[in-house]
């Protein structure tokens, strides 16, 4: 059972981590675009 929990946790961490990184990168790009628009 421990093997299963570790494996599912790993899947969760990798996917959430990637999703978070994608969100942060998109947010950064949006902010840079907005800053350019304001200038």
């Amino acid at each position: 059972m421990e093997n299963l929990i570790v494996a599912y946790l790993m899947i969760f961490v990798v996917l959430v981590g990637y999703g978070w990184s994608l969100y942060q990168r998109t947010r950064g790009t949006n902010q840079a675009l907005r800053a350019l628009d304001e200038k």
Binding site: M1, N3, A7, I11, Y18, L22, T26, T29, L36
Partner: protein
């Protein structure tokens, strides 16, 4: 930057992307929740490996989605080399990044299952080794793309994206060509996968396919915005 038109993927305009997210986001989470529940409670407990076998329901879809992602890289790279249109290059790059994420999941979950089934986290088996090679090829592809962009580098990456995909059929046939410890997936033959296990696997595969589509839309849109930012910055300076 060879950006002719922005947005080059017209389907990913602000309006349509918002609509895609409105449908795809709740649907993906719903199907993942169903797949997870089925993997934990609906699918029967495997007699020899016990609960560790349940890793299979997300290990196999991760591998399939990895292959699908690299197939998209292959096709997009061919189209980019033929047409020179940045939209194919952006699609290849986006799909390669997601493919590496799913292949990482295969390489993380596989050893945990292997430890329970074989008593060792890793063996230099044909399927495991060729999968690791595939991961290294596309990590190399992303490393190449992470440095300063130019058309020549994009073309070089496209060649790597095409050549790298040649490893996928090798992985597929590795269990039949070489003597290997890795199990072969028997789905539709007598004595194959239990019907409840098969249904769970198919739902898990559907959930990861939806997740791949969602991530691809988000990653491709990021690439478009980055190009838009580069164009605007160049216009400003």
């Amino acid at each position: 930057m060879s950006t002719a038109t922005i947005p080059y993927w017209k389907i990913l305009s602000d309006y349509t992307t918002r609509r895609i997210y409105q449908v795809l986001l709740p649907l993906t989470f719903l199907v993942i929740a169903i797949a997870l529940s089925m993997a934990l409670w609906y699918a029967p407990r495997e007699a020899t490996m016990g609960d560790a076998q349940r890793i299979f329901y997300f290990h196999v879809p991760s591998a399939w989605i990895g292959f699908l992602a690299f197939f998209i890289v292959f096709v997009s790279s061919v189209l980019y080399l033929l047409k020179g249109d940045r939209k194919w290059d952006a699609l290849a790059l986006s799909s390669a990044e997601i493919g590496v994420v799913f292949t990482t999941l295969v390489l993380l979950t596989g050893p945990i299952w292997a430890k329970a089934a074989w008593g060792a986290f890793w063996v230099w088996d044909a399927r495991l080794t060729t999968t690791l090679i595939l991961w290294f090829i596309y990590v190399g592809y992303l490393t190449l793309r992470s440095t300063v962009e130019d058309v020549r580098k994009a073309r070089l990456a496209a060649v790597l994206g095409i050549v790298g995909f040649l490893d996928v059929p090798v992985i597929y046939i590795s269990v039949t060509v070489w003597r290997t410890m890795h199990p072969t997936l028997v789905v539709n033959e007598p004595g194959g996968l239990d019907p409840a296990m098969r249904t769970t696997l198919m739902v898990a595969l559907a959930s990861f396919t939806l997740l791949y589509s969602l991530l691809l839309v988000a990653r491709l849109r990021l690439e478009q915005k980055r190009d838009w930012l580069a164009v605007k910055s160049a216009q400003e300076s």
